[in-house]
């Protein structure tokens, strides 16, 4: 029996124009040349499997623009997913980050950023991802947790190779078998102390859009490897920021609540009684003016989605 997922979502905010990053002086004298560039990030579809120099440049230009938004992490993340989605030409893209990534502990989901175009069923799944669903209940994350590699790239063929995959990842397979997602790939990398923070970038094709090509996969793999480089250099902020007005204890409870942990689990991890955890829940609901956990989760996702959605800049 399919599970019904209900999460109220805020309407999307209208796109706003974004500053194009560092301004150029009137005249720049530099003793280095670069080849002619195509405007913007858009690329043509070809049968090649490896990115061309022009495509590499477009990826790096996008990441430079992303880096320039360092002071505005939500806008930074939104530009990243919108830019990658447009560059690869997929229907949808998302970015998520989680902390506490290890085989022994469930990661704490921190945030996700989605592109504007959503399949409603898939959006419901994503809304539950890391909130009610454990991250490792997603096949891509399931594989990632068990892999020692710090940078991983998966396609549907990699994570759902067996005929009985429905038994392992029912929610994911339910969405996919509903005819919503035709193809997808996810790249994940670990970062931070001990590699316990994980960042995932996903691309999906809906309905009749067809399969992703090897070129798409290689392009995303290259882009995510470079994104990891940016994160490791501190140019992209993916860690969850503390919520103003919350005590450290309430922040700890909030992180775990958003990760979908049960009160009993939270109580054990924080050495509190279950009653105390429930009292903290009520304080959080009052603080955020929501009626319950689902509304709180939707509020956080809505905060990210309601952030300014930059237009990709046109290059002169």
């Amino acid at each position: 029996m399919p599970r019904t997922l209900k999460v109220p979502l805020k309407p999307e905010s209208p796109p706003t124009f974004m500053d194009r990053g560092p301004s150029l002086p009137t005249l720049v004298l530099l003793s280095m040349s670069i080849p002619p560039l195509q405007p913007g990030y858009t690329m043509s579809t070809t049968h090649r499997t490896q990115p061309t120099h022009t495509e590499v440049l477009s990826v790096m230009r996008l990441l430079a623009d992303v880096a320039a938004l360092k002071s505005d992490p939500p806008a930074q993340r939104q530009l990243l997913v919108e830019g990658l989605c447009r560059m690869v030409g997929t229907n949808q893209a998302f970015l998520f980050a989680a902390n506490g990534w290890s085989i022994d502990s469930s990661p704490i989901f921190t945030h996700q950023t989605l592109t504007a175009d959503q399949d409603p069923v898939f959006l419901q799944y994503m809304s539950q991802f890391g909130v009610r669903l454990r991250l490792e209940a997603d096949p891509f994350c399931h594989h990632s947790i068990r892999s020692p590699a710090t940078l991983q790239n998966y396609s549907f063929e990699d994570v759902l190779p067996t005929h009985d995959a429905e038994l392992d990842f029912p929610d994911f397979v339910e969405v996919r078998h509903a005819g919503r997602v035709a193809d997808g790939l996810v790249s994940l990398f670990r970062t931070g102390e001990g590699g316990r923070s994980v960042v995932g970038v996903g691309m999906h094709q809906f309905g009749q859009s067809g399969r992703l090509s090897d070129r798409d996969r290689n392009l995303v793999a290259f882009a995510v490897a470079e994104l990891k480089n940016l994160v490791d250099r501190g140019h992209v902020t993916l860690a969850a920021g503390a919520v103003p007005g919350l005590t450290p204890r309430l922040q700890q409870v909030l992180d775990r609540l958003l990760a979908g942990q049960a009160p009993k689990t939270i109580a054990r991890e924080l050495s509190l009684s279950v009653e105390t955890v429930r009292e903290h829940f009520q304080r959080l609901y009052r603080h955020f003016q929501v009626s319950g956990r689902d509304e709180l989760a939707a509020k956080f996702i809505g905060q990210i989605r309601a952030s300014p959605m930059p237009e990709l800049s046109e290059r002169p």
Binding site: L27, V28, S31, I34, P35, L63, A67, H235
Partner: protein
């Protein structure tokens, strides 16, 4: 001595990483320009680099140097030349700038 003329992907990536480092510094223009000059010089192994900015660049008018930024290491004679550049003599007296001034192209490498 490398005889290649085109850039390899790794070189493009290194260059764009440097420009990302520059882009991050947008809130501090002085540091941003310094990172640009030193970063590009380091990439190509130049012993000296500079960045000059001139405004009012029109055919009928000599441009005015607004500011100039030098790399870390300077040759004294070249530094002296750059010190006069745009002050004691017009920027169009420099052969590179003169070429640029005579051309209608927006982007040139001389």
């Amino acid at each position: 001595m490398n005889r290649r003329l085109g850039l390899m992907q790794s070189e493009i990536t290194s260059m764009m990483r440097t420009l990302a480092d520059v882009a991050v510094l947008r809130s501090t223009p002085d540091l941003q320009l310094a990172a640009l000059v030193t970063g590009i010089a380091s990439l190509i192994g130049a012993s000296q680099a500079f960045l000059g900015v001139a405004e009012n660049w029109r055919d009928s008018k000599s441009p005015k140097i607004t500011h100039m930024l030098l790399g870390d290491s300077h040759d004294p004679a070249f530094l002296h030349y750059l010190g006069d550049f745009g002050r004691s003599f017009p920027v169009t007296s420099d052969p590179f700038v003169n070429n640029f001034f005579q051309s209608g192209d927006d982007f040139q490498t001389c």
